[in-house]
């Protein structure tokens, strides 16, 4: 992939991730539980990590968080996005090389657990209420379910992208 092609592709992925994130935020959560949502935007982050690399995925994620702040318009939302995103990126970066692409969804589950842990830590820090850690097990369950779902999404998207590249070349 040439530099220009890569840059365009990254910009496209950023736009896709931001759009998904904003649209998902407009829907009321199916289960009104604080901090729990499907997190469809993470499909793009993990796909970028598998297809382009860790640094590229991190850049796209950071761009989405900062641009998302303009749309969300609240400071605490940015802190949360950042805490969850950073930890999830670290976890997925460490694991993505260890699993075959068939098990990409496993990386996604660990990433989702990292994401929810990051948000829980941020929530405890912001509210100064360590009692919130009681909420950890419920967030773990939510992370496993949502992470597996978005991970399967990434896996099929990566497959489709590889098939497309293959046909093109």
């Amino acid at each position: 992939m040439t530099r220009t092609r890569k840059l365009v592709f990254m910009a496209l992925l950023t736009a896709v991730e931001l759009t998904i994130w904003v649209i998902e935020g407009q829907f009321p959560a199916p289960i009104p539980v604080p901090g729990v949502k499907l997190g469809l935007a993470s499909v793009v982050t993990l796909t970028a990590m598998a297809v382009l690399g860790r640094r590229e995925a991190g850049a796209i994620l950071l761009a989405r968080v900062l641009l998302g702040a303009l749309f969300a318009g609240s400071f605490s939302a940015v802190i949360f996005s950042l805490a969850g995103g950073a930890l999830s990126w670290c976890v997925m970066s460490a694991l993505v090389g260890l699993f075959p692409e068939k098990l990409l969804w496993v990386v996604s589950v660990f990433g989702a657990i990292g994401h929810n842990l990051g948000q829980l830590l941020a929530a405890v820090a912001v509210t100064g209420t360590p009692g919130l850690f009681w909420y950890g097990p419920a967030l773990l369950t939510a992370a496993i379910l949502t992470g597996a779902f978005t991970g399967l999404g990434s896996m099929y998207l990566v497959r489709a992208l590889r098939a497309y590249e293959h046909r093109r070349s």
Binding site: P28, A29, P32, V33, P34, G35, G73, S74, S76, A77, F80, K102, L103, V106, V109, A123, V126, T127, G128, T129, G131, L132, W134, Y135, G136, P137, A138, L139, L140, T141, I144, L145, A148
Partner: protein
């Protein structure tokens, strides 16, 4: 189905079930504890509430109007930007807390 795939599916299923079970176990209790910025603001035994009432928690950060009913508690109005705490509705057990991040307000239900 490869053995490795099966291994991860079983592991995650067990973890998810364990998390749900732990959340349910902690779900008992009837005492709602309202915490603002890490300090306990109020403590209400919901099983002892006979008639519902409203109370407003106001700090420098903003206000939240809390509706207390026999057996349940909810934030019904607030001047925070997101309104997540209001949309969540009433809680009746300790499985899930109400959190208003901008106002650093937490409502949890604990054992007596």
């Amino acid at each position: 189905m490869k053995r490795k795939t099966l291994f991860w599916i079983v592991l995650f299923a067990l973890l998810a079930a364990g998390g749900a079970a732990a959340a349910c176990l902690h779900g008992g209790g009837t005492v709602a504890v309202i915490t603002v910025d890490g300090r306990e603001w109020d403590r209400v035994d919901l099983s002892a509430v006979a008639v519902g009432y409203e109370t407003t928690v106001e700090t420098d950060l903003g206000w939240n109007t809390i509706r207390v009913e026999p057996g349940s508690i909810a934030v019904i109005d607030a001047d925070c930007p997101g309104h997540d705490c209001v949309e969540q509705g009433a809680i009746t057990d300790g499985a899930i807390p109400i959190v208003c991040l901008p106002h650093r307000l937490v409502i949890q239900i604990e054992g007596p």
